[in-house]
């Protein structure tokens, strides 16, 4: 990204015309962004079936085939067992700590991003219903 914008600035300074403006993007950009996302979803699926995510060999997909029954479209919501409004990553960590008997991840850990990406992707097309129980 940085290199691209440096080149763009240099090009503008030189008075070259016909280059993409900042608010424009091409089919190639879209393809690359999709590829990046799909790659992270794939990592998420790998983690979802990875016996090393926790410490007892249990994997996420054992209870959540195709990430079913994770209903990401309902988060954030009031989680009655925790007595507060909760984001999905907190529930993912709950599962890592309890059924998987493992160590929780930071909210911005790339592994967490991958898990959340996979969960959302399996639920694509379902309307958002934050707070729903």
């Amino acid at each position: 990204m940085k290199i691209a914008s440096v080149i763009a600035c240099a090009a503008l300074a030189l008075g070259v015309t016909g280059l993409a403006r900042a608010d424009e993007f091409s089919q190639e950009d879209l393809a690359r962004w999709q590829e990046q996302f799909d790659g992270v979803v794939k990592e998420g699926r790998a983690l979802f079936t990875d016996a090393k995510l926790g410490k007892n060999g249990v994997v996420c997909a054992q209870c959540h085939p195709n990430a079913a029954n994770t209903h990401p479209e309902t988060y954030p919501k009031f989680q009655k067992q925790l007595g507060k409004v909760t984001s999905l990553w907190e529930m993912v960590n709950w599962c890592i700590r309890n059924p998987l008997e493992g160590d929780q991840l930071a909210a911005d850990d790339p592994k967490m991003t991958a898990l959340l990406s996979y969960i959302a992707w399996e639920r694509r097309g379902v309307k958002l219903e934050p707070g729903k129980h």
Binding site: T49, N56, G57, V58, A61, Q62, C63, H64, P65, N66, A68, N69, H71, T74, Q81, W94, C95, N98, P99, E122, R123, R124, G125, V126, K132
Partner: protein, 357 residues
């Protein structure tokens, strides 16, 4: 605790007390014209005993089986026998099967075993057979013909020629949602055997079949499926009263196809989502099924359980003992001609937690 059983009290409440209210089994009673012919059996399934390493096993799954065994032993009147519905192990290994067999050895009375895919695909059921006997067989009990099928077979190509190691074959089949798996089937050889076995049975004899996978097609993506289900159903079609019990699905399901009533068993290990909650795929969950309450993950035994079956007039009534939830009874209704939930069948009686999404 308010537990009511419609026929009689199955659990010695004096000894069990509150604990009895929280049992996770499925119990079945078969009732006959002469009440003296009625009998019950208990049905425990899908324990998925999972080795971590050495003598360490996943505590959660161990506790599910230990609890079901302890509670089954408290049933009164005593069930005539116990069915274990398959998937005793998670990865089919000797340590897992041995550990599971040891936990099951605490059961009082005769135990009949059904093969599950998690027991099978490491060594094709060899060690399981040493512990529990034949992969498929039949027996007669008090005028009912019981058949146990190994319904989790698949194609020879997948079984014998696709995977570089037995361990990988097991791991590929162990993932419920793994697209590298393969549809279950009973297969030609076993269907031939079944045809011969049933030829000796009178058409008015009640027939009860146990399989691990549903002998009906619900959702192929998770193998809630048997590929030759219709062919097996056709062999059962000539009989007046047929009941099929299956495990594998880790949830309450029931259905009626022609003369055949279907009822599933809960798992002792963990519950599965109903296939409809996977929004990317079509599924055929039987319309008759009133779904279990959504599981509360904070109670690790919630939505797991065991069942007892009450056999009366050759028809079955299954009582599901759900931990952290009310007991459910699914019984064949002669007037409706299919199984019904004794409490929740009427849509007006459904409760909020039965809504899944």
């Amino acid at each position: 605790m308010d537990i009511k059983y419609d026929r009689r009290s199955f659990i010695k409440t004096s000894t069990v007390g509150v604990a009895g209210a929280a049992l996770p089994l499925t119990m079945v009673e078969l009732a006959f014209a002469k009440p003296s012919d009625n009998f019950t059996f208990a049905y425990i399934s899908d324990s998925h005993i999972q080795q971590i390493k050495g003598n360490q096993f996943v505590r959660n799954w161990d506790r599910g089986l230990i609890r079901a065994v302890a509670e089954t032993n408290l049933l009164t009147p005593r069930p005539d026998f116990v069915i274990f519905g398959g998937d005793l192990a998670q990865m089919g290994s000797k340590p897992e099967l041995d550990h599971g067999a040891e936990l099951l050895s605490k059961l009082n009375g005769k135990v009949y075993h059904v093969m599950g895919e998690h027991d099978y695909y490491l060594d094709l059921g060899e060690y399981w057979s040493k512990l529990f006997g034949k992969h498929y067989y039949s027996f007669d009990h008090k005028g009912v013909h019981f058949v146990v099928l190994n319904s989790i077979l698949t194609t020879d190509e997948w079984t014998f020629h696709r995977w570089p190691s037995n361990e990988q074959r097991m791991a590929e089949m162990a993932g419920l949602d793994n697209p590298n798996g393969s549809p279950f089937m009973v297969g030609d050889q076993q269907r031939d055997w079944l045809k011969k076995d049933l030829a000796k049975v009178k058409k008015d004899t009640p027939v009860v079949v146990f399989s691990h996978s549903p002998l009906q097609k619900i959702y192929k993506g998770w193998n809630f499926w048997t590929d030759d289900a219709e062919q097996v159903q056709a062999l059962l079609a000539p009989f007046d009263k047929v009941t099929v019990f299956y495990g594998h699905v880790h949830q309450i399901q029931y259905n009626q196809i022609g003369n055949i009533a279907f009822t599933s068993a809960m798992a002792t290990a963990w519950p599965w989502p109903y296939p409809q909650s996977y929004s990317q795929a079509q599924q055929l969950l039987p319309k008759l099924t009133v779904q279990m309450n959504r599981a509360d993950p904070f109670f690790e035994r919630d939505a797991t359980g065991w069942q007892f079956i009450d056999v009366n007039s050759g028809r079955a009534s299954a009582t599901f003992n759900l931990y952290n939830n009310k007991v459910r009874t699914v019984a064949f209704d002669p007037q409706a001609g299919h199984p019904i939930d004794k409490t929740y069948q009427d849509p007006d009686r459904r409760i909020q937690p039965q809504t899944h999404y």
